[in-house]
Amino acid sequence: MKYFTILWANLRRKKLRTILTIGSFAVALFLFGILAVVRGAFSQGVDVAGADRLVIINKIAIIQPLPLSYQARILQIPGVKEVTFANWFGGYYQDERNFFANFAIDVDTWRSVYTEYVMPEEQWKAFAEDREGCVIGEGLAERFGWKIGDRIPMKGTIFTGTWEFNVRAIYKGKRLQDDVNSMWFQWKYFDERKEFQKGLIGWFTLRVKDPDEAVQVARTIDETFANSPYETKAETEKTFAASWVKQMGNIEFLILSIGSVVFFTLLLVTGNTMAIAVRERTRELAVLKAVGYSDVTLLLLILSESLIIAVLGGGVGLALAKAFTLRGDPTGGLLPFFFLQGNAIWTGLALALAIGAISGLAPAVSATRLRVVDALRRV
């Protein structure tokens, strides 16, 4: 700490340059934060997928339905614990831009499979007793200002017409990353009212007794319904979510590419800045060596300077990214999980520190190699 005076004075030596360098870090880390948020939003389904859950869809495509009658047969397959089902509705509220996930669910079995969603018991009971009732996530409630008792008109896209629902329950996720931006309503009401695909559902989700047997159970299910009019494709929820993400393209590669270019550029910029900053101080460094400052002390002083810039800039960038995400999903529902996670913040800070260290290392080492006699001779 006793060297802080020197560090602080050096940082204030060229204020504009220091601010611009900190700004470079801030911009890069802000971008990193946003990329991490987007990546998290796309992979959220993969990350939160239950290890003991399987998703069963029509083998042809997810938009093709499956018979409700499969539920009882699936339950008889060894290793299956609970089975529920749902159907994509695809409606919107007032404007198509107000997109959010909404689907019909089986009231009797839904909560036994999706245990991560919680709400007051009386609310769930009220929902179960109201054919036109619906459950909304707290994120959705906040977004549209909905509350219990509100009547929500939804415009159907696949199942046309205006569908009105009464908000009977608001659910939360047990974990921060659980999706709280969906709307559920009763499949029975949905099946009665829809004009086609009667008795058919969108997909099944089941829980297995032993996660280690999940793959075997999935194989058995597919074999059971092989050569039927509705062949199935059963896979773990994680695999299902991952393949869903893949349909959007190689997001991971895209984000890594952009991130790498940004950080490499940042490294060049800060490396050059630090090199100039140290070169300008050659004579002062020589004086410090003359009065007894060791090579290690000088190395640490220069590296610390670089690291302070990195931490300040990185901190500002990540704080801005966090503030940006606090405003919620800017895409209007495409990325419901728009959240900068703690591990992304720590990774960002670690990256900033690494770049700070690398960019400060070369000038710091050159300072230690400085010959006092030669440096003092230069004017």
Partner: protein
């Protein structure tokens, strides 16, 4: 008593024996110092004079442990500094040498107090102890009211006083002054030389000074002349 003949002197603080310094530039070998002998006692004030390129600064660099000789030995307080590693030499400089440069070499972004404190940061002194030492040093050079001034806010003479305060704040074994008045007007130069003289005479500091200025050299006890790498005694002020 300062001697350059290599004669035995048991009281020497600094003892150089047969010191050579050569530089190789391309195919050419420059023999800057040749077989120098020097004995300096505690409290001596020695001025080195000579034409440009005569090796004055090289000699000062060797005495200050900033450079190493091609041959010979340099003993300071009985310790042969030519045998020290670069790391040991750095630590040795912090303990034993106070440098005063022609261009002051203060750090412009630090106040006078912070500049003077720089060598003390290497010690185990507490913050309050460091502050006391800095105040004492700045008072000694006549700048107790310039603690919070930056070098850019000081006159040349004040900046050099600050540099002298930095040199003496750790109470080193000796001071090395390289043209301390070279960048000052006559009045300031005179004041600086009075100050350095006081440090030698009143506080018993050993001072080794390189100068081109005969008036500055007059303040020294002994003036030694360097010519073509050889040291000869030019005059002894008030001595035998």
């Amino acid at each position: 008593m300062v001697r350059v003949d290599g004669g035995s002197n048991g009281q020497s603080l600094i003892r150089m024996r047969g010191v050579d310094k050569k530089y190789v530039r391309g195919s050419e070998e420059l023999h800057v110092l040749q077989g120098l002998n020097l004995d300096v006692e505690q409290g001596d004030f020695v001025a080195f004079m000579g034409p440009s390129g005569s090796g004055k600064s090289t000699l000062l660099n060797l005495l200050g442990g900033l450079d190493t000789p091609s041959a010979g030995s340099i003993l300071v307080g009985g310790e042969d500094i030519t045998q020290l590693s670069a790391r040991e030499l750095t630590a040795w400089r912090a303990r034993h040498v106070g440098f005063v440069f022609q261009m002051y070499n203060l750090i412009p972004v630090l106040t006078a107090q912070q500049n003077v404190e720089l060598p003390l940061l290497l010690t185990k002194l507490s913050k309050s102890e460091r502050r006391r030492h800095v105040e004492a040093a700045l008072s000694l050079v006549g700048l107790p009211d310039r603690m919070s001034h930056y070098p850019g806010q000081l006159s040349g003479g004040q900046a050099q006083r600050t540099a002298i305060a930095r040199a003496i704040v750790t109470d080193p074994s000796f001071l090395l002054c390289d043209e301390p008045t070279g960048d000052l007007d006559r009045k300031s130069a005179h004041e600086i030389m009075d100050l350095i003289s006081d440090l030698s005479k009143e506080y018993g500091k050993t001072v080794l000074m390189v100068t081109h200025d005969p008036l500055a050299a007059e303040h020294a006890d002994v003036v030694l002349h360097l010519d073509k790498g050889v040291l000869v005694e030019a005059s002894r002020v008030g001595g035998p």
